[in-house]
Subunit: 427 residues, 2 copies
Amino acid sequence: MRVIKIGVLGLGTVGSGVVRLLRDHQAKISSITGCQLEIKTIVVHNLTKQRNVDLAGIELTDQFEKVLHDPEIEVVVEVMGTVDTAKKYVEQLLRAGKHIITANKDLIATYGAELAELARENGCDLFYEASVAGGIPILRTIVNSFAADRIVEVKGIVNGTTNYILTQMSQQQVSFAAALKAAQNLGFAEPDPTNDVEGIDAAYKMVILTQFAFGMNISMKQLKIGGISDVKLADIQQAKELGYNIKLLGIAKLIEDQVDVSVGPVLVPKDQPLAAVQNENNAVLVTGAAVGETMFYGPGAGELPTANSVLSDIIAVTKDIVLKTTGSRFNDFQRDLKQARPADVCYSYYFSLKVKDQPGQMLKITQAMSEAQASFHLIIQSELDDQHARIVMTTHQMSEAQRNQVVAAFGALKDVEVVAAYKVLPE
Amino acid sequence: MRVIKIGVLGLGTVGSGVVRLLRDHQAKISSITGCQLEIKTIVVHNLTKQRNVDLAGIELTDQFEKVLHDPEIEVVVEVMGTVDTAKKYVEQLLRAGKHIITANKDLIATYGAELAELARENGCDLFYEASVAGGIPILRTIVNSFAADRIVEVKGIVNGTTNYILTQMSQQQVSFAAALKAAQNLGFAEPDPTNDVEGIDAAYKMVILTQFAFGMNISMKQLKIGGISDVKLADIQQAKELGYNIKLLGIAKLIEDQVDVSVGPVLVPKDQPLAAVQNENNAVLVTGAAVGETMFYGPGAGELPTANSVLSDIIAVTKDIVLKTTGSRFNDFQRDLKQARPADVCYSYYFSLKVKDQPGQMLKITQAMSEAQASFHLIIQSELDDQHARIVMTTHQMSEAQRNQVVAAFGALKDVEVVAAYKVLPE
């Protein structure tokens, strides 16, 4: 039986999972691929660290060159998790003709296009299923199963930490700060949670999903990114009364021949499948012109789910090696699309304002809406404290340009604070 | 550009969808495959029937031989929907070296193993993504993305008609008969709904899913099949009060080294993703030892969703033709597994009994449970009419052998009628 030798860069959570899964499912993998897959060498930072995974027969080294210059190693799994070093290593490995599998979303979102080109030039595969929504095989599904369709929208809960926090706020009636702390205690949030709670991690994933769904290269700078650190329990409860769950959604949407991509808190009607995705789970809803709405749900992170996605990539590379078909892009679909203009991106909105309780306030607010030619669906005013009222509005559809105008006008009013301005998905 | 010519058998809903999609997305498909895909010939029963799809450049014939003997045609799409004729045709086509794509679940569930073998012998591809859950790419996902994992359970809502009926019963508070009639008026149910409402259609799909998930060939005769025609509104409401939705589920479950496959009404806890699948939608929940729970949701039928799955198969065949890699099985995973014994299959149950209201009834019922060493979780007795009471029980886990013993004992009691005996999924 043909033996394929694998190098691994990094032995953290995902790396350990790959070692474990490959060992446990050796027989099944051999029966499918006709090959024996063996991890030969793992490059780590710290050679003396205790590892809780069986490394029998595997060489541990802190020398990257041991993998780079080993002609026996055909496939390299990059699970280090930095960007700059990872990029340098991956480039060298591709030039040396080694196939690459990575779970590094930052790397792919930032340098995916040029690395894919380098891989193609060197006849190498470059796969990264695990980089988006850990255990959900969303990228390969888009490539294989939507090839004949025209995707019109991809929206998803692609960050488990924020979904866990929002679920806990909603179910346990606690503040963002309390829910974050609970998430940190359980290991669902990092000690420095910025990347997750400010929507940055979700945005990296949306860059990759946009590339797969629309064939369009978009950079992080072009994305509109909002997080959840400002989301108030009161708004979660208010939304619930109106029939919505607030979720941190990434949305990439085709608007005629343009694409709009954003990340932020969104009101999702309770009876829609995305609204039911709880805790640390992820889900991606793909709308095809032909197929309609399909949703892919599962764990967004974790050692074994993510390692499973890495292994499906390894199996795909192995099949390509055997069939001598390596070197074609993970995603072949490329198009020149522009970003949609704010005047063309239309949603309904949920506005929540903190207002000093004095006569004439509602008039000024309705004037601001009216000047932007925006219209209400409903207005709810309630007492906030002795001196302040809370005014919540849901609106009819308006463009992003109108939305920006309204928010700016609210913000300019004396004694009015804009607490929330979230998109509302249609029923 | 290389041209791949396609023959189609049948021009009903799915056939028309294939013609339409292939025409609409010509450019995208060419950019991905590097080939031009052209439907050359369509075999129909009735040449004079009016068709509401553009057939310019396509030959319509009632002669199957026109496709069989045409050396230009490399790929044939079978969407006729019978079993015996389809089998005969597919066999002849495979022997003639033509690759086959079919949406025919009855054919594949019944003759899949021998057709796959014949395809392999002739170096042909045989794909049937559309045969299970129409627009959801579940088969190829299992093949590609669970190859390195060990699937322990596949359960799903794989029949849209019954899910529509159950959703309407639950939401509109109507009887099975009324909901069926509404479904028929909307075209969601056939004039003769037997195949759908008795669980047969779902069972065909479970045969195929079992083959993909566990590598095990099981025949329809080996399946335990229940339908929904006996499901009462009262039980749907009672289940709802207890926190469950009743769904027609197919369940294929690994129990040590054996597999249990069944189709029937099941109580699903409301906060689980399958419980939220409404109306004619389908969903398949795959549990992997490594990856955990993942769910794939989408339209289970319909012209364009099903045609989209056929087209992803056509694209897969085309890639294989170009790469000269045709002839490998759709699903390579084969194992010898046995069916689980009733003593080893354990679930909690929901029993609903109609009981003549007289002293001593509850004693006899609890005796029947006790004799089978089965135990209650809760019992609810309510008045049904002047002379009858309704007794609803949920139980702790018991084996299927115990369940059968209890149901037989209840049935043997005078003045007791077993209205429902449904599985209950754990929270």
